[in-house]
């Protein structure tokens, strides 16, 4: 698809926000008063910011309220509901911690679970799409959760845990890319099946249905150059994985190291998220692409 910078920034940040919530809900770190305020402010800013951004991207916002209705079938609906529930649970939890110096662990655990489910739901919005074979694989929810939890751990100032999670995440991300590269072929969808003309022979696009752009081309048929993608993957591995892991695991823990690691990690997450969207080959491209 065509990766819009704002979508990348906001989905990355909101993942971090919910990841941070998960740790906060578990009481790690165990914060109260102003410190808790600061932490929850960041978590809310990140997570709500991300959600608002997705609302902002709706073409017809006035009907957004109905998106809470289809929890039985729709992962997007579930994400909405779960995120609101998570944020509500954390509201109680945060108020307790900031104003009443009360831990309210039940709300913390509940909120953490809901946050985890929110991130899982988010991942399932993409993973469920058979139309994007690269997304349609079980490792994707795992990656989304790991991104969230690892980032959350960093925000929670737990360098060693974060370091370990980041090593794991990086390894799985590399595995994910390698698996993803084969997914379109494995899906069995080709220009031949898309047109049904495979029984005759090799199919190629002669003339597209339209020389002008349209919504499908804007959204789903964006090809990122292979060389470009490889370069970004390297940048991504270094920034989200190698640098933070080295800093966190090899250096003595301190705030500066953690912040530098966080900054590097976030840049890496952006790059990886950009790739997540940019490399997503939608099968509709089989109708449109000339190759």
């Amino acid at each position: 698809m065509h990766p819009a910078p704002s979508v990348i920034v906001f989905t990355s940040i909101s993942g971090l926000g919910f990841g941070y919530f998960i740790w906060l809900g578990l009481g790690i770190p165990d914060l109260y008063g102003w410190e808790a305020f600061a932490a929850f402010f960041v978590a809310y800013a990140f997570s709500v910011g991300g959600l608002l951004a997705s609302v902002f991207h709706l073409a017809n916002k006035k009907n957004a309220i109905y998106s809470f209705s289809q929890w039985k079938t729709s992962w997007l609906s579930r994400e909405g509901i779960l995120s609101v529930l998570a944020l509500l649970a954390f509201a109680v939890f945060a108020i307790g911690r900031i104003f009443f110096a009360t831990a309210l662990p039940v709300f913390g655990y509940l909120g953490a679970a809901l946050a985890l489910l929110t991130v899982f739901s988010t991942s399932m919005i993409y993973t469920q799409l058979k139309t994007v074979p690269r997304w349609n694989m079980p490792i994707n929810p795992v990656l989304f959760l790991l991104y969230s939890v690892a980032g959350g751990a960093l925000l929670s100032m737990q360098p060693k845990v974060a370091g370990v999670l980041i090593v794991l995440l990086t390894a799985l991300q590399v595995a994910g890319w390698m698996m993803g590269d084969k997914r379109l072929a494995e899906s069995g969808s080709t220009k031949g099946t898309a047109t049904g003309l495979n029984t005759i022979g090799q199919v190629r696009l002669f003339e597209s249905a339209h020389t002008s752009r349209n919504y499908i081309l804007d959204e789903m048929v964006h090809m990122v150059g292979r060389k470009h993608a490889q370069k970004l993957r390297m940048i991504s591995i270094v920034a989200l994985g190698a640098v933070p892991a080295a800093l966190l695991l090899l250096l003595p823990p301190n705030l500066i190291v953690t912040l530098v690691a966080l900054a590097s990690h976030v840049i890496g997450v952006f790059a990886s998220r950009w790739l997540f969207f940019a490399e997503a080959e939608h099968v509709v491209g089989l109708y449109y692409n000339r190759d």
């Binding site: 099946t193 005759i200 022979g201």
Partner: protein, 247 residues
Amino acid sequence: MTMLPTHTEKKLGLVIDLDTCVGCHGCVTACKGWNTQNYGAPLSDMDAYGADPEGTFLNRVFNYEVAPADGGASQTVHFPKSCLHCEDAPCVTVCPTGASYKRVSDGIVLVNEDRCMGCGLCAWACPYGARELDYDAGIMKKCTLCVDRIYNENIPEVDRVPACVRTCPAGARHFGDLGDPDSDVSKLVAERGGMDLMPEQGTKPVNKYLPPRPKDTLDKQPPKALETVAVEAEGFLGWLDKALEKL
């Protein structure tokens, strides 16, 4: 509710004949015209006369070339594409607002525009590129199978077919109940080996495509060679004389 019905009373859909479609785009603009004036928001055209026009169409005609496996000349195939009204429509189940639904009575997949929030997820779930978000209305648009024509008592009965079918000059588009094995469309599908697009996606499309008939067979199964009656004019005259006598 975006839960798919377990059963629809009919499976209304289109059968598109790839052997006959000449690629005139009649179905494209007839559809655009009807659906701009009817069901829901008009199909807009952004930057209509500008450098980068971009409009909403519910039906588009592609043009492919197929290089036959046996090495013959490449064939050109016009390929109209619109919503296939799938039995297992992924666009419906992903919808968070309940705007997308499949009708129990006839199987038509529709978007309830009073509910659509324009998130685009349904378009992402569709393998066929059959849904286009209208940039002016902010609403997802798709083929309605002209639900406002096929039951419309204000138009003559013979015209109660989708606009694309009514207009198709070559008769390459057929409309009917594919759930009824005795319907004309079902028979046509059976007779001509009607096929699904991307069956591996598991969407169970209702619309079927009739494959092109075998082409360029003349040299493979040539007619009986013409026998010589004369190699030059004089011999020909002799033959002609006799032939005329016989008439």
